[in-house]
Amino acid sequence: MNAEMMPPVLPRLAKAATGVPGLDEILLGGVPAGRPTLVCGSAGCGKTLLGMTFLVNGATRYDEPGVFVSFEETGKDLVENVASLGFDVQQMMAEKKLAIDHIKIDRSEIEESGDYDLEGLFVRLGYAVDQIGAKRVVLDTIETLFSTLSNQGILRAELRRLFGWLKYRGLTAVITAERGDGSLTRNSLEEYVSDCVILLDHRVLDQVTTRRLRVVKYRGSAHGTNEYPFLLDDQGITVLPLSSVGLRHRVYDEAIPTGVPALDAMLGVGGIYRGSSVLVSGVAGSGKTILGASFAAAACARGERSLFLSFEESADQLVRNVGSAGIDLQTPMKTGLLHFNATRATVYGLETHLAVLQRELDRFQPTVAVVDPVSAFRGAPAEVHAFLLRLLDMLKTRGITTVFTSLMISNDRMDQSDFGMSSLMDTWIALIDIESSGERNRGLYILKSRGMNHSNQISEYVLTDHGIELMPPYLGPGGVLTGSARLALEAQEQADGRRRREEVERRRREIARKRMLTERQIAELQTEIEALEAESSALSTQEADSENIRVSDRAAMAVSRRSKWRAANGGDPPPEVTVRAR
């Protein structure tokens, strides 16, 4: 009853890590330990190198010595071939961590007569394994035997016995095989080795090779089922399990400066959000790269690690060119904060580009990246779009703030040459050409910026010898004025301003003068009033005086008249009517 209720606890399949970056992730740990794994693929697709990497990593990282049984290359060739990857096989052999046995079979000097078996191979392998206590074995490429030995019946029986023997000895084996037409391997080795089958492939499309790896089957274990691109270069094999498109990236509230203070101001939050993606689109020569470089230089100045992916210019050329605009990339390059990855977009297929980028990101761990330009990638629009989407996701899931530049054919932003990239971007800064009055100037405006109350102005984008400057826009009747037209307008406005100020000053003086006049008038009038008052009071006094005088005069006259009257009439004169002052 209990057994039905609870799933039985099964021992988990033991795995042996290959140590190949990415491959163990796809295999969810590694190849099955103690069992053979078949690696098949066409010539030159990296089977031998994968096998050798498996052994070298086993010997150096996992304390599992290994035996390389080579049916094709000599031990010397093998050692030399992998030396370029930094594998010191000679040293490992001296330390008994690795053994190489080259099985040389020359068809021309072998005659077959009667029954035989491959016990010699078993003896040699067993001896080599015992000598170094090997846990890993690579057989590369055992299929060679099919062309050397004519008795296929014996060979097949012996191979079956060999794989059984490997399992019995608990050896983790990698058996390489040539890809066959319509079958995984030319000699159907998959019939014998079927615990884990890995298919390597390199395809040429439009003259560009893309290497891919697929886990065809893995008995007893889940595994990544897609085709994964892988790299085969001076750093060995790197498989890149490119994650699917997801929107699970972390969101940051922190805004980081773009390196152009005026642009930061235009963005409203003082820069762009960390982890966001910025598209800088513009026509040729509009200064996209310089804006990107300025962003990278600013990040480096803050001590952030910046990755510059240049697909059109070499690192040296780019550093020199942006240096002339006062942006110093030389210093952060020297200190190691800035890492350049300059490759032609057409060098590899899109998948390989992603793979290379993923490896760069893993190794360099940048917080800021510049992709210059995304428009360098050509191909079927749907493919390029998918590529860009994955590129974007790869950067976003790592929280890397990225500036993508994109070349536009014309100023018209409806002219979409960005493969629908703009809709994926958080911020879109457009650099435009403004041609007027016989000159060409650059303009910058923010087309969109998610989560920001950004400016809607078109500013003039000026490249100086000390970096990028954004000039406040001048709007004339014909639109934004830039360059000398702006300067002319500025001068005119200055003149106008001066004239206005002079006018105001003049009018102020006029008013002051008028005021003075009026005040003077008021003073005069006041004086007049005072004069009048004085006159008036003088009049009163005068009147009073004259009255008095008259009275006194009359009295005097009366006295005199009386005397005269008395002298003429003898007696007193008649009383006079008093005239009063009114």
Binding site: K104, E109, I110, E111, S113, G114, Y116, D117, G120
Partner: protein, 97 residues
């Protein structure tokens, strides 16, 4: 040509029926065609595994003609005599006749 001395080595792995058959077949062939001018060395690679790698032995039994040069190899229990003679470049009396 007929005066040449044959230095032969037979690699076997243990006392298996194939090994024993090969040894017997080789002795018979040599006695018949190379009487008095051959030397056979039987090497058991199971007992001397390092020799298997050194002498590039893959299949067993393997007969190696060390002399006369060039080196020749014949694999199998040597039951097909004509293939052995061909492999050892032994010109038989029947062939010359």
């Amino acid at each position: 040509m007929t005066s040449e001395h044959y230095n032969l080595r037979l690699y076997v792995a243990g006392q298996t029926p194939k090994s024993l058959a090969a040894i017997a077949n080789l002795k018979r062939i040599c006695e018949t065609h190379l009487a008095g001018r051959y030397a056979i060395e039987v090497i058991d690679v199971a007992a001397n595994p390092q020799l298997a790698a050194m002498d590039q032995i893959l299949a067993v039994p393997t007969l190696v003609r060390r002399l006369p040069e060039p080196l020749k190899r014949i694999i199998g229990d040597l039951s097909k005599i004509d293939r052995v003679l061909l492999g050892l470049d032994i010109v038989t009396e029947e062939a010359t006749a």
